[in-house]
């Protein structure tokens, strides 16, 4: 194959074809960049890293959501590559979609560690240790690059916009499976119990023993203010 045609569904549903010369190893993103540089500077698409890390260049390639930078044209086995914007999100321009509903769902599961003991959280005086076997339980979910491909592919989101979608659910699991929340309490408890034996007086702090009432709740951190509860 020495030439390739991109058929892009642009804003308003019109299909526009761009012919270009095929180079060995050319990805769909390479082709799009070439189109914008040499043929049509008005073509809209997102991209950044070109290496499958940033998750910006998600689009429907031959009917399936993929990262354009990871889609080798030779592997698609077609001379006319059909490109559409991602599904389940509103098109802003050409291949650029509005990720707001996706991000809203992501935020709604509070994708960060939530510690019960806020005083300990804000004035942490030690490190959280996790062994690699425990990390493997959630690492594949931690590697999520938020490209929204799964949100676009999800048939349930296609019918029910109130559904969280695969990404948000995976993120919720990622933090539920994280052992840090428990480990921190256990480390603290052991340390304080040791002190107790040494000094001979009950030094277990209110947060751990629950014997004494906690002080006033500290204000939420910056990243928590934006979270949807």
């Amino acid at each position: 194959v020495d030439k390739v045609t991109l058929e892009v569904v642009r804003s308003g549903g019109r299909r526009v074809r761009y012919d270009l010369k095929y180079r060995k190893g050319m990805t769909v993103l390479d082709a799009l960049i070439e189109v914008r540089e040499k043929q049509d500077s008005s073509l809209g698409y997102r991209h950044s890293c070109r290496m499958g890390i940033c998750g910006s260049c998600g689009m429907n390639i031959e009917g399936v959501p993929r990262l354009a930078c990871q889609a080798q044209i030779s592997a698609l086995k077609t001379e006319v590559v059909k490109l559409e914007p991602l599904h389940n999100m509103k098109v802003l321009k050409d291949l650029v979609v509005d990720l707001a509903p996706f991000i809203t769902m992501h935020k709604s599961v509070r994708p960060h560690l939530v510690r019960k003991d806020l005083a300990e959280r804000d004035h942490s005086d030690g490190e959280y240790k996790v062994v690699s076997e425990e990390v493997n339980r959630f690492l594949q979910f931690d590697y999520c690059i938020m490209c929204a491909l799964c949100y676009s592919a999800c048939p349930t989101v296609a019918l029910d916009p109130a559904y969280l979608g695969p990404q948000a659910i995976a993120q919720a699991y990622r933090y539920m499976a994280d052992p840090i929340q428990l480990a921190r309490v256990e480390i603290l408890r052991k340390r304080l119990l040791r002190k107790k034996t040494r000094v001979g007086s009950p030094l277990v702090p209110p947060a751990v023993s629950g014997e004494v009432k906690q002080g006033p709740k500290p204000p939420p951190l910056d990243f928590e203010k934006g979270a949807v509860s």
Partner: protein, 153 residues
């Protein structure tokens, strides 16, 4: 909830039911949904049908006559319902195992290229294909049974 305040965009029913280009689990998702709708439709019709009994023998007789007047279509309909019940039931058991007990899902592993979902590992694929083949065999048998009822076989 979009940035300009418009209602959220959805791809809709056709996109939801289109499994082309996806793996076998997406096909089973589509079949599960479609057979579920067929079964709900059948259940409604069945409740309506048996309700006629309470209206007396004449009403029941009329309903039966109306059904039989469909000719072979009645049997085709029953055949589709039988296939739906078989698939929805068998696949439903797989989904209960998946979603309630986490069975067949595989263990979480360190993601290494080329990535493949552990949730669609050997066990899951074996069960999916076993269900497909078993349902097809039973569906053919159900078809023969219904044809025998018509006196064809």
């Amino acid at each position: 909830l979009t940035t300009d305040g418009n209602p959220r965009y959805r791809a809709g029913l056709l996109a939801s039911l289109n499994p082309l280009g996806y793996n076998v689990e997406r096909w089973s998702y589509t079949f599960h949904r479609v057979t579920g709708v067929i079964l709900i439709g059948y259940l409604m019709a069945h409740i309506f049908e048996t309700f006629q009994l309470s209206l007396g023998a004449a009403a029941w007789g009329n309903t039966m006559a109306a059904l039989h007047s469909l000719g072979p279509l009645e049997m085709v309909g029953l055949w589709i319902v039988a296939g739906s019940a078989l698939y929805h039931g068998a696949n439903g058991i797989r989904l209960v195992l998946n979603e309630m007990f986490g069975s067949l899902m595989g263990k979480p592993i360190l993601p290494v290229y080329p990535y493949s979902p552990t949730s669609l590992g050997r066990n899951q694929r074996t069960v999916v294909w076993t269900i497909t083949v078993a349902v097809l065999v039973l569906w053919v048998w159900a078809g023969l049974y219904l044809l025998a009822g018509l006196g064809v076989v």
